[in-house]
């Protein structure tokens, strides 16, 4: 496994020295996981979730009692800390 490449895909920073440690642990992990190749799964449907539920929907209504009041607003715009220097 190319640790640096996977870390980039996962948007994760690597500290110096960690790449080698991850490399070793990945090799051990993938060896443990490799046993799955012994299973004959030809023609077996994958299961992504066990509920059997399909197309569950609800009314698109917000329950205001469950959230905090909205932030300060001024004339329809949210008031936020200044980004640019006042000067």
């Amino acid at each position: 496994m190319d640790v640096a490449y996977v870390a980039k895909l996962a948007n994760l920073p690597l500290n110096p020295g960690e790449e080698a440690k991850f490399q070793k642990q990945f090799e051990e992990t993938l060896k443990t996981i490799a046993v799955i190749n012994e299973l004959d799964t030809l023609g077996i449907e994958p299961t992504s979730q066990v509920t059997g539920l399909v197309n569950i929907v609800r009314q698109d209504v917000v329950d205001p009692s469950r959230i905090l009041p909205p932030p300060k607003s001024n004339n329809g715009y949210f008031t936020v800390p200044s980004i640019f220097d006042a000067s």
Binding site: A7, T32, I36, L39, P46, L53, R58
Partner: protein
Amino acid sequence: MLLENTLTQLHAQLKSRQISAGDLLNECFDHIDKADSGLNVFITHTDRQKLLETAQKTKINSLLSGIPYVLKDAYNTLGLPTTAGSNVLKNYISPYSATLVNRLNKAGSLLLGKTNQDAWGHGASTENTDYGPTLNPWDQTRVAGGSTGGVAAALATRMACYGIGEDTGGSIRNPAGWCGISGLKVTYGRVSRYGAIAYASSLDTMGPMARSVEDLAAILSTIAGQDPYDATSSPQPVPDYLSKISLGIKGKIIGIPKEYYSEGLDPEIKKIIGEAVKVFEQLGAKIDDQISLPSLKYGVAVYYILAPSETSSNLARYDGIRYGQDRSNFTFETRRRIMIGTYALSSGYYDAYYKKAQQARTLIIKEFKQAFSKCDFLLCPISATPATKLGELITDPVKNMLSDIYTVATNTAGIPSLAIPCGFTKTGLPVGMQLQGPMFSEAELFKAGYAYQQVTNWHHAQPNI
């Protein structure tokens, strides 16, 4: 001690004003003051003055009214920080509460605080946490188990009447076993996941932890049930779990799957569970020791493809831009799991890993269904060893993965499992066992666990703190 009572007993005393909710809180505060800093159970405490004021106004109209409880820090709570055990969410305050938190608060329970856990659920020892490991109350050189170690340690030391944990690969059952308390991994979809910080969305379950099966039944009755905010929550009606709990298990068949008792299992644990089997026989159950679950061999591999894959997706939202701290705050172990998942889902590897694991999942589900055509429950160990020493698991990823060997298949199949204490090792470490059943068989599991706890005392034991 008030906290030795069941919820039913406490309810009667509260209702008749023999005791007040304030009395319960004060007893919890005493135990917390005595043991929390040593064991490192809590991440956040609710303000005590506020709790006592709320307690005075709480109407005692349900079994959970006026009852102090704790939450694994994986549940969003309005006004109280939620960290999931990670610095990424240090001091993060959610703008909403999880559905189950709302249900418990509406029932009148009093939240004492948020407890320690392996960050994001990534672990079986509460060592992969940015808040220091939680120690085992029975032996402080050892871990409390994980990932719901904080709740388990809190309950063993009577800091609260009950707690809510989360089980994705054994995270309620493992610490329950290692701390000597009772816990329930529910059927997937039985309890709403809305507002719970997701680890692996197809495996995560939210469940009660307490010092008796009877209490678990009372709590589940309140938190179970379909939630419009969680599309995977089940429309199956919620039975009154307490009403038939004492009917017993005469004639029920308990399967003992061979593969779960072979080499690898500590012989002392095997012997202790053997004693429990005899108790179940005395209670009228029949034993089938010819049950076979060969998929045990693949359970860890399937789980350690599915869970890291799903967590790599669920944790992508923590970008440190909209809220929280940046991704350099993830622990080594968490980054390891995210990367394994990213790799297993990446182009060229998806079929060999994630798709293969999904297919294996179909086979595992089928195997459990076949087993349940021959028996009503499966009795299995929870862990192959008693609680490990600090540092033992967190430094060895393969050992860490293999420690979940008996619990991960349950989540993969979505079936429920009840963890109850069944003895102690010669050195005084708790041993637990798990009863697994078909989907939505919680009521039946409770009957079996309750019957066992009527004739044994393991669940009353208390560590010396």
